[in-house]
Symmetry: C2
Subunit: 224 residues, 2 copies
DNA sequence: ACAAGTCTGTTGTTTTTACAACGGAAAAGA
DNA sequence: TCTTTTCCGTTGTAAAAACAACAGACTTGT
């Protein structure tokens, strides 16, 4: 567990908290470690949970497969990000999505009640962590809204433009890598992979973009 | 302001807090009132805000109009619900959506920093409110994910089925009213209104549902 | 009561997407 | 190295959605 303290220090939740205090808080918050191999499920739809989690290593997808096998990737979790916080409320019910490890992953589990209620041993930085947690959830909220604005576009091309523009903005560069392969991007935008692939190539042929694997370059010709 | 204390008492945020304490906290949290006529905007895309708000009376839509005039309704806010909390974080940037009053509305504004930091006058119920706030944001988070699962369905019919099923579940009844008219529902599900209207009527003709205005009845023939 | 405006369903056309199937390139594994 | 699997682009077809235009019912405001 100690091994991950430097990683935790760089997370949103423990921003501004020293390594020693984090070590103390790990006890206070009853943190536990879990590891998952690529392809394993961290959570399955219908299960119940009341812990919240930080991904220390690896990559996860929050996703949802329907009856007919259509997959929808709700969100991606990178190392250092937290998840599961939406099910912290006592009456939050069953988990609506699967959480899949798309890389070998290490997860740290916390007892959520211990964070949001006042710490019995009153660790010094507890209030900072509460504040950080609040900000982190707000951020997640915004990223969901962001995804909704991508999905709300009518055509595949508009969805791609919206998504790629946002990634460029986020990277402060017209050249960037995306965290998805083609199938995953299609699942994220809720479109058909082959149709999307086709549309990407059309956009390339029209001089809007170039790409190689998951690295993209956008060209500003004033049409976006 | 006092007039709205009974309303506030029934909100998620002040759940478990007595009317007297709410009165005291309104000062502590620097609450302010704002009223909006139907059709007025509470917030516009690109503005900045660092207050969070509770809708005391009326109805709001969180929405987003793109360059071509396509409207997307991200979410609906009913009386007693809060909004704007996603922009509470200091570096959260400009607001991504419009907030429109679809009915005459009364809004109570709070200084968000005063909630999540420890109260200087240490009101007794402050920690309960922090906890409530946390749960409320979690709930909003889940409702966004819910909406994403509707939108991720491939066809208009599937989107309708997903949405109507969820409403039935939420109302614990196969008969219920929805808070949208046809155009608004189409904007919420990101589909064309006329195509959606058409699909609804087909579903009615096939005996899956009946409806009148915004009141729907679902019939379970085992196909859903 | 009347006029203006809104809401909803209907239809036909055009555009776009989903779906299926395939082949080559690249990556992974034995 | 060789085989197997995954990834990605391509094409054609069928299905679905967007779009536009319209008419009747209902609401709202005067």
């Amino acid at each position: 567990m100690k091994k991950y303290i430097p990683i935790l220090k760089r997370t949103r939740l423990f921003s501004g908290v020293g390594e020693e205090e984090i070590g103390a808080m790990l006890n206070c918050l009853q943190a536990r470690l879990c590891t998952y191999k690529k392809g394993e499920y961290v959570l399955r739809q219908g299960e119940h949970t009341d812990t919240f989690m930080i991904l220390a290593e690896g990559k996860l997808h929050i996703q949802c497969d329907d009856y007919w096998g259509n997959r929808s990737i709700i969100n991606m979790v990178s190392a250092g990000e937290m998840f599961g916080e939406a099910y912290a409320a006592p009456e939050s019910g069953a988990v609506m999505n699967d959480v899949l490890a798309v890389e070998d992953s290490v997860i740290i589990l916390f007892d959520v009640k211990r964070i949001i209620t006042v710490c019995p041993s009153a660790c010094r930085f507890h209030s900072a962590v509460v504040q950080n947690m609040f900000y982190a959830i707000s951020e997640k909220n915004r990223s969901l809204v962001q995804k909704i604005t991508f999905m709300s576009k009518r055509t595949t091309r508009e969805k791609l433009i919206a998504y790629l523009s946002e990634e460029a903005k986020r990277h402060n560069s017209s050249e960037f890598s995306i965290p998805f392969n083609r199938q995953q991007l299609a699942d994220y935008l809720s479109v058909d992979r082959s149709a999307m692939s086709n549309e990407l190539c059309k956009m390339r042929d029209e001089g809007m973009i170039t790409f190689e694997k998951n690295r993209f370059v956008l060209y500003d010709d004033g049409t976006i």
